[in-house]
């Protein structure tokens, strides 16, 4: 983790790192480069670069000349030969910086979001934490908030199975309308705003599958241990899991709505002539596992999304809409 840690592309972020690193180093006295890297979840090289910069930085001082005593100093031998950091002289900086209004707001809103998790965390823990963040900000935190969601049905049971490492069984309603019994080893609970997903190893399919929580029913937490063989499966961010039988569909989409395609999107055609399509729309190609997901996606985005081809995809969408319209004629 440490060596593949975050890197900073913006000067503001690099500055924050420097301002955060100094008080940590001062406080800890002596620390190895690798421990510091692990602590901040950055690469060892980032730590070395930052320490090298800190060691030659300081204040103009009385003479305005950055004299020796106006600069930070480190134990160079320890640094060069043992990869250890000891700050031997420091200037100006003592303590950790406050949060900015937006930084505090981001974490506070994140905590509000997490309150929907079925963890046994006292509400008081959240509110005291939010209070600390607000007091630790240099300005009143920005007004950003996320509404508390209702409890997501089986989340607590799945979380329990995950924690105890046991298999789950449930009925799953696929978007094509079929209900299937599944046995899985739960791997992770993902969320995407108000949608919750179970990432799990599906026994019958012998592969990782993603299940929407609101399509699960008859959930049983078994006593059978889940295999640890899949613990190392790298779960990326929630993405549409393509298969060989995926359908590639060409759509016209309002540029502002491209984000709605989210996981389905495989490629947006950025060719200039595509921009001149009807109503300033762009053409995009999306991958769908089957037509059933597509017809739902398109009819729920009537004003911004149209299927251009293939013809059978267009027909499936039209049939779906027509079948729905027929219900209003009954």
């Amino acid at each position: 983790m440490a060596d593949s840690g975050q890197s900073f592309s913006y000067a503001q972020d690099k500055l924050t790192f420097l301002l955060a690193l100094v008080p940590y180093l001062v406080d800890i006295g002596r620390v190895s480069v690798s421990d510091a890297a692990a602590h901040f979840q950055v690469s060892e090289q980032q730590i070395r670069d930052a320490v090298s910069l800190i060691a030659v930085s300081g204040v103009p001082g009385e003479t305005f000349q950055y004299q020796h005593g106006d600069l930070f100093d480190i134990a160079w031998d320890d640094f060069d030969e043992h990869d250890e950091i000891v700050i031997t002289h420091r200037v100006a900086l003592d303590d950790s910086p406050r949060f900015s209004a937006r930084e505090a707001a981001a974490l506070i809103a994140g905590l509000q979001y997490l309150q929907s998790l079925p963890e046994n965390i006292d509400r008081g823990v959240y509110s005291s934490l939010m209070d600390k963040l607000a007091r630790g900000a240099s300005e009143r935190p920005s007004q950003v908030a996320i509404a508390r969601q209702g409890a997501t049905g089986s989340l607590a049971e799945v979380r329990d199975a995950l924690a105890r490492g046991v298999q789950l069984e449930f009925d799953y309603l696929a978007s094509r309308g079929t209900r299937e019994h599944r046995t899985v080893d739960p791997l992770r609970i993902d969320s995407d705003d108000e949608s919750w997903y179970l990432r799990a190893w599906d026994h019958r399919r012998g592969a990782v599958r993603t299940f929407r929580f609101d399509r699960l029913s008859a959930l049983v937490v078994t006593d059978r241990p889940a295999s640890s063989a899949h613990d190392d499966v790298r779960l990326g961010d929630l993405v549409f899991q393509g298969g060989d039988d995926d359908l590639i569909v060409t759509v016209e989409v309002d540029p502002a709505a491209v984000g709605l395609l989210g996981e389905y999107l495989s490629q947006v055609d950025e060719a200039p002539d595509a921009q001149t399509g009807a109503h300033g729309r762009v053409r995009a190609h999306i991958r769908v596992a089957h037509i059933h997901g597509l017809k739902r996606l398109v009819t729920s985005n009537a004003s911004s999304l149209t299927v251009v081809g293939p013809p059978e995809a267009r027909a499936a969408v039209a049939d779906w809409a027509d079948a729905a319209l027929r219900r209003y004629l009954e």
Binding site: V144, A145, A321
Partner: protein, 353 residues
């Protein structure tokens, strides 16, 4: 801006900013702009004594903004003997306003939660802010713990208006954007004082004061089209918990609006809609559902196709039928000769678009 070619080895930006923060933290009385430009590392190399330093001054202005955005309280002091003289303004960073108060410490359990909260923002608008907040948290030496295993929460900010509006909130400036209200023939330009950004039912809303009408308004970010332009002058906004207020208002609307649906047994619609917060089983395959916005719910319900028939309110029925007709018309090739049943449906007028 064209890079200055005069200095052989330019000082990295972060070194200049770091030196500026150190210099301003170290001074009690403050430094004038001229003192900063002529002495602080990163500026002094480009400073021309007695010459034109206009580009360097502009650089300093941008640096001040960048530093303030990080929560560094950069202060300006007027010279008592010469108020109003910009050249005599003194800059400093008061230590107590800069440093995290000593009594604020985070336990390992709290840090775990904060890591997870930051992770939820891992993509999108506030991801850099959360990462910076975590750096500051780790600065206090608190034990780093991995996020709670087994969760990967994610907050989305797909609306492109989120980023500029959250900037407007942080800077307390006005925002202008084109807003398409459902039912209106075209988007209209709005100028507002942003008060809060809230996510309700998975959608981002802006609570603001419409400056043309001088009235409070709530906007759905997904209905903002095109660019959002920000004002320059900070607005005078009375402090209040606008976010909580906005959520309470949306909850009240949600409470008051009830849709009545008929869902087919065993379908996706039945399973998922009946599990919504506040969904009520009204018997006979009927579900009552609260909602905040007719157009948004109509989009969603149209997606369920024949699995759902909307019974009311009338405006929702009309909106859903409208959408279904539009989809049918856009996907039915006229050459095939089939007529969509919707086009012959009596009683429901096509809404003007």
């Amino acid at each position: 801006m064209a890079p200055e070619k005069l200095t052989p080895a330019p000082v990295p930006v972060e070194e200049r900013l770091f030196s500026l923060v150190l210099a301003l933290l170290a001074t009690e009385t403050g430094l004038t702009k001229n003192e900063i430009l002529s002495t602080v590392q990163g500026y002094r190399q480009r400073y021309r004594s007695g010459g034109d330093n206009a580009s360097l001054e502009r650089q300093f202005e941008r640096d001040k903004d960048d530093i303030r955005e990080l929560g560094v309280p950069l202060e300006t002091l007027e010279s008592p003997g010469d108020p109003g003289n910009n050249q005599q303004l003194r800059y400093r960073i008061p230590r107590t306003a800069y440093e995290l108060p000593a009594d604020i410490a985070f336990s390992a359990a709290e840090t775990t939660l904060l890591n997870l909260a930051a992770m939820a923002w891992r993509e999108g608008s506030l991801s850099r802010e959360s990462r910076r907040a975590l750096l500051k948290l780790r600065s206090t030496g608190v034990e780093t713990t991995e996020p709670v295993l087994g969760y990967a929460p994610r907050i989305r900010t797909r609306d492109s208006a989120f980023e500029p509006l959250s900037t407007a909130l942080a800077r307390r400036v006005s925002a202008r954007f084109l807003y398409l209200k459902p039912g209106d023939p075209a988007a209209r330009m709005r100028t507002v004082a942003p008060l809060a950004l809230v996510q309700h039912q998975g959608r981002w809303h802006l609570k603001a004061t419409d400056l043309d009408l001088d009235e409070p308004r709530t906007f759905l970010l997904s209905r903002i089209s095109g660019a959002v332009t920000l004002g320059r002058k900070p607005l005078d906004l009375p402090a209040a918990d606008y976010a909580a207020l906005a959520l309470a208002e949306l909850d009240a609307i949600w409470d008051a609006n009830v849709a009545e649906l008929e869902v087919q047994n065993g379908t996706d619609a039945q399973l998922r809609l009946s599990r919504r917060r506040g969904a009520e089983d009204a018997g006979d395959g009927r579900i009552r559902l609260h909602f905040t916005d007719t157009a948004l719910l109509a989009d969603e319900l149209a997606g369920f196709g024949p699995e759902v028939r909307v019974l009311g309110p009338a405006q929702l029925v009309e909106s859903v039928v409208d959408r279904l007709r539009a989809v049918s018309a856009a996907h039915r090739d006229t050459a095939s000769g089939t007529t969509a049943p919707g086009t012959t449906s009596p009683g429901i007028e096509q809404e003007a678009r």
